[in-house]
């Protein structure tokens, strides 16, 4: 198990390195100049050369690359061109906010998706299943911004129940603990809901398929033959066997959650990593863009690493090199 873990960690580390390299070169090779925002007719060319030298942009590209990798290894992500603050500070502020959204959405997605998928599979092709399948398909096909707009129109504008922007309306120093808490929660409901429901639909479809396959396997027939009630057979035995594969798929859906967060954060003015990504991309703030892409890729790699590890933990055959029923990899 330890060897498996170490091997996967090494793979992950190398993958992260490759990601950093690829992003760095893509950004640098793109047309446009990191310093374009400083240009103006009155500026003395000598000042531009000085700035360029100060930022280390006049060195050859491979040297810049090496320096970037070295500073990343030490945890130094550079300084933002637009805000002049260290990028690590900016990241430290924004990442927790995004994590709040993504992790809540992930949990909600797992609970909702697995449960609804299981309910569908319990009585396949029955009334529940057919209606739920239609609902899943629709939610799976709605672009999240459209869904968000719909919810905002209904809950924020028409009904006024939930706020539609920012993380809070009541400053922390104000009245009592509960109003502040309620306010914070109210601000989280819509963004998390939008993020979770779309991916929950996808997960439910997959869980339903996976459970239906599991139910046809021999061990289920054995359990029934032993005289166990259908409910126990399904919810205890079949679920426990179908769950690992479903959870692995959850790990693979982390990239989509991150991507979805970008649009959601922009719509709900949620000051997290997604907003930061969009703003810095449009402002051509190279250090921040590089850092954000890097962190994003790291989170994805971490997600799939966790998924692999949890699958290996649950299915010992995978650890020792056997294929087992591993998902097609």
């Amino acid at each position: 198990m330890i060897r498996f873990l170490l091997r996967r960690l090494l793979h992950a580390f190398l993958l992260v390195l490759i990601t950093l390299t690829a992003t760095f070169f893509v950004l640098r090779l793109a047309p446009g100049d990191p310093l374009s925002r400083f240009y103006s007719p009155e500026i003395d060319p000598k000042v531009m050369t000085d700035i360029r030298h100060q930022m280390g942009l006049d060195k050859p590209l491979p040297v810049q690359y090496a320096k970037t990798v070295w500073s990343y290894l030490r945890g130094d992500f550079g300084v933002s061109i637009s805000s002049h603050r260290p990028v690590s500070d900016v990241l430290a502020e924004t990442i927790p906010r995004t994590l709040l959204l993504t992790v809540s959405a992930l949990l909600l997605q797992i609970v909702l998706g697995v449960f609804l998928g299981a309910v569908s599979a319990r009585y396949p092709y029955g009334v529940f299943d057919r209606t739920l399948s239609v609902i899943f398909l629709v939610f799976y096909s709605i672009p999240s911004f459209y869904f968000a707009f719909g919810l905002i129109a209904l809950f924020s504008i028409k009904l006024g129940w939930l706020p539609s922007a920012n993380m809070y309306s009541i400053p922390r120093e104000a009245v009592g603990f509960f109003p502040v808490l309620a306010d914070r929660v109210a601000h989280t409901v819509l963004p998390v809901g939008v993020l979770a429901l779309g991916s929950a639909a996808a997960l439910a479809r997959y869980a339903r398929g996976s459970l239906l396959d599991t139910v046809h396997q021999d061990f289920v027939k054995t359990a029934r033959a032993k005289g166990l009630g259908e409910n126990r057979v399904f919810w205890v035995h079949a679920m426990k066997n179908a769950l690992p594969q479903v959870l692995t798929v959850v790990g693979l859906s982390v990239p989509f959650l991150l991507g979805g967060a970008v649009v959601i954060e922009k719509i709900f003015a949620w000051p997290g990593m997604g907003s930061l990504a969009v703003d810095s991309i449009f402002a051509r703030d190279y250090p921040v863009v590089l850092a954000v892409n890097f962190v994003g890729a790291c989170m994805v790699i971490l997600g799939s690493l966790l998924a692999d590890l949890s699958y290996a933990w649950l299915n010992p055959r995978v650890r020792y090199g056997g294929g087992g029923d591993a998902p097609s990899r």
């Binding site: 446009g32 672009p143 999240s144 911004f145 459209y146 504008i157 990239p255 051509r284 954000v292 097609s328």
Partner: protein, 364 residues
């Protein structure tokens, strides 16, 4: 048996690189370079700057490619002269047994027809801004079935022309991604050994990128042209196809007819092209349909954020964005383009599911 195994073990032109990781790194750089090349080309060849899905030529070419692709997969007579018409009748019956799939197909063909005939059926010119004082934000009425937007432009016409962009981008990107993924997957699966290992490591690595972030970065930093969007969507989407095809090829490799062909002296390239790939078309077509649905969604995300098509060319995502200030007051500005997106994506998903059952494909 051993003799056949040796023949099947194909190593292209000499020793593979020192260890799969070196190969993976080199492939990553090549991929990067290819991407930059595409972007530079698209900026240099001014032709590519114009949103070609607007042109009739581009739309017809895309539609023709789509028809050929599906025909090849569904009608076995195209790839195998000896196949009987009975197989097609069988598949067609299975597909038609799914009512939702048939509905989806009809809806999709409707969208396709609308996008091809756009200039003929749109009641107004989508970019003309009429007198704002009079026409802006008119609710749906007899003269403007979907209402008008902030500038007095007819929403129905804009939705119709927007179909061109969404479908055009989706079709082009999916065909490109399928091509790339099939070639890489088939070659890698057939080659086996260290080449296969290296290629799959690269594919897994590329799958690790959060796609939307990468799309944003690439499209915003390079030229904001529609062909770049197509190229980037294809370049970030081919990996799924490669894995799928590779899995199929690994199974097919061991089957009787392939081994017979090898024993009969058929060359490696011909085996891949003539024997392996046609048998994977079923899987490919289902994956392509489902991927197409996802690409329509992705394109709408991009145009929502302002990347890809530029105003005044209408695009569904961009139109939804335009209506954000008047979500309740002028709901029709965002509602109808959004409905178009949902409709197209649902239709494609339904067709994909129906095809999966009709062609009896195991998606794994």
């Amino acid at each position: 048996m051993a003799a056949t195994r040796r023949v099947l073990r194909y190593v292209p032109g000499g020793r593979p690189g020192r260890g799969p990781w070196v190969a993976a790194v080199c492939s990553a750089f090549f991929y990067l370079y290819a991407g930059v090349l595409v972007a530079r080309l698209s900026a240099w060849i001014d032709l590519f700057r114009s949103p070609a899905p607007d042109g009739v030529g581009g739309a017809v070419a895309a539609a023709a490619g789509l028809v050929l692709f599906y025909a090849a997969a569904v009608y076995p007579g195209i790839v195998d002269e000896r196949a009987s018409g009975k197989v097609f009748a069988d598949r067609s019956r299975r597909f038609r047994a799914h009512k939702p799939a048939v509905v989806g197909l009809v809806v999709f063909l409707f969208f396709l027809g609308v996008s091809l005939l756009a200039p003929l059926i749109a009641p107004y010119d989508p970019s003309v801004q009429t007198d704002p004082a009079v026409e802006r934000y008119q609710s749906p009425s007899a003269s403007h079935l979907f209402g008008t937007d902030k500038f007095g432009r007819d929403i129905l016409s804009r939705v119709i022309f927007g179909a061109r962009v969404s479908l055009g981008v989706g079709v082009s990107a999916v065909l490109l991604a399928t091509l790339l993924g099939t070639l890489v997957g088939a070659a890698s699966g057939y080659a086996g050994g260290r080449v296969d290992d290296a290629a799959m490591r690269v594919v897994d690595g590329l799958l690790a990128f959060p796609r939307l972030l990468l799309l944003l970065t690439l499209v915003a930093f390079f030229a904001n042209s529609i062909w770049l969007v197509v190229a980037v969507l294809a370049l970030t989407g081919w990996m799924g196809f490669a894995r799928l095809i590779r899995a199929e090829v690994l199974v097919l490799k061991e089957s009787d007819f392939v081994q017979a062909a090898v024993a009969g002296g058929v060359g490696r390239g011909r085996i891949v092209w003539r024997h392996l790939i046609p048998n994977t078309l079923g899987t490919v077509v289902v994956a392509a349909t489902l991927r197409f649905a996802m690409l329509i969604l992705l394109e709408s995300y991009l145009s929502f954020l302002g990347l890809g098509v530029q105003p005044p060319t209408p695009s569904w995502g961009g139109m939804v964005f335009d209506g954000r200030e008047v979500l309740v007051a002028a709901w029709w500005v965002s509602a109808f383009p959004g409905l178009a997106i949902v409709g197209a994506v649902v239709a494609c998903n339904l067709v994909g599911d129906g095809l999966r059952d009709a062609l009896d494909v195991r998606m794994g």
